[in-house]
Symmetry: C2
Subunit: 333 residues, 2 copies
Amino acid sequence: MQKKRIFRGLLVSACTAVALGLSAPTFAGDYDQYRDMFEPLPALPPIPADNSLTDEKVELGKFLFFEPRISSSGVISCATCHNPALGWGDRIPRAVGHDGQVGERNSPTVLNSGFFEAQFWDGREDDLEGQALGPIQDAVEMAMPLEEAIARLEEFPEYIDMFDAAYPDYDGDNVVNTDHVAKALASFQRTLNTPNSDLDRWLVGDEDAMTEQQKRGMALFADNGCVACHRGPALTDSNFHQIQVPGSEDKGRYLVTGEERDKYAFKTPTLRNVALTYPYMNNGETETLKEAIEIMGQEMLDTDFTEDELEDIEAFMHALTGEMPDITIPALP
Amino acid sequence: MQKKRIFRGLLVSACTAVALGLSAPTFAGDYDQYRDMFEPLPALPPIPADNSLTDEKVELGKFLFFEPRISSSGVISCATCHNPALGWGDRIPRAVGHDGQVGERNSPTVLNSGFFEAQFWDGREDDLEGQALGPIQDAVEMAMPLEEAIARLEEFPEYIDMFDAAYPDYDGDNVVNTDHVAKALASFQRTLNTPNSDLDRWLVGDEDAMTEQQKRGMALFADNGCVACHRGPALTDSNFHQIQVPGSEDKGRYLVTGEERDKYAFKTPTLRNVALTYPYMNNGETETLKEAIEIMGQEMLDTDFTEDELEDIEAFMHALTGEMPDITIPALP
């Protein structure tokens, strides 16, 4: 049974295997060839030249991330939908924000988001600095005009001191400004990484870090071509692919670019910590990991995975859960 | 100036001083007599006989406290209004809950609430077990029928295991039940205490734990009779007193008892950590500590504190900030 499955997998994804210069495994347990198809998660993502990562910015960013008073109601913070207790997501289908309004899309986890080269499901921002100010202003999220958010922060001498410490070379008039808020939030988020998953430890040589089932799942994941899009350190190509998951009419990236090829296209989501970030897909209508794998097989690969294959891939998905960042709750002013 | 103020304070509150068996201080710096008027905060509040405090119940209670999925929207938890980042309160005038609805009253901190002998502003519950289930069901708070909250928790094998561990002697059918939810939440809250404030350390003999100004404030607080209601380990008598603060038409405890004497009566709030739990009063309309002290002087004591007196009492209020409980964010299932 096992041999047959791996053999079938190799046939189905022959193109991928050839493209990646793979040779067939010499025996069923030989997974070494897959090591080159994955990347261990670095300790930190790339840091932009104009936003150096400093302790002071990270600390300020943490305060702002947990700060509900920069929302219109005063009770919604970044941490409401990107809840550290819930894998830095919210584990409900679609985000619930200001006045209980329900958004159009599932809240993505912010874990490892510094590794993404596009932000939001539709990539409407390139980087975390661009992303950070969106939810504060969005009418169905925090619903707060930026100038009011800034004014609220300026009421606190503690915040002014923290902004001064984070931007010591700033010589303008108002150190509490939207650019500095965005840079601090981005800096904090760049520290929210989850290294040392079972996969990462296997990649650097710990043979026992993954179970045999997880290794089979890894082989299936690679051989079937999942890795074509879910690749790189965060297991996303940060690119956009057309997909219409059950229940979704969302036109996705088309709403940003207006280009026909982007209709129903969404950014490949990270698979790191995917076992923690249910429910799945842009509309959050897929409840379990196994269903998500099944749908992706059908929609993207035109493949009906067998029950055993689904279970193996699901086991591999659990190998992508890393060490959660050790964040203490800040004492806000 | 200082002598005059203390002298005046003693005159004003002569009845209180006599009632408490105090003699006049022999010199301005002699605060020893005030030691008996305050109580250091014990490490734990009284534990009820039918809800022993165990690690398993406290851990379960912590999970439930941070669990937004027992709210109707899926995003509001106990920690939304009793936010550990905000002194375990919310620092807005009145609680914002389900669908952005605004409640009638200011969210009280849950810190040291195990020491209260009445719960809620109107004392409609006696203990934390009674209190715990209220906000889950309240239509303007978490808006979740209890049976649905229980059903959601039962979806998680992890929660069933935690309830089993917390109630090992339970031999009924459904270990995930409202009684067990209430007892776990109450148990967790009984661990949220803030010992070792400046006052506490002074009370046990550290003369330098409070500044001279704080000691003057303490004397004013005692001599003017504030301590008549703000007494005991949590600086509340857990009793009800008529007060109409600016902007409030709230009939308070009358809505619970229907008794005339309870009209506009509210429970004496704790003063522990009062510097962290702004804004103040049942309607949260009082923004600063100094205003709150001024209003209390006028409303409850018929006293107009001088500016110096207000500042001294305010300084003393800061001596009531204790060590915050060291809570890590739980990783919810």
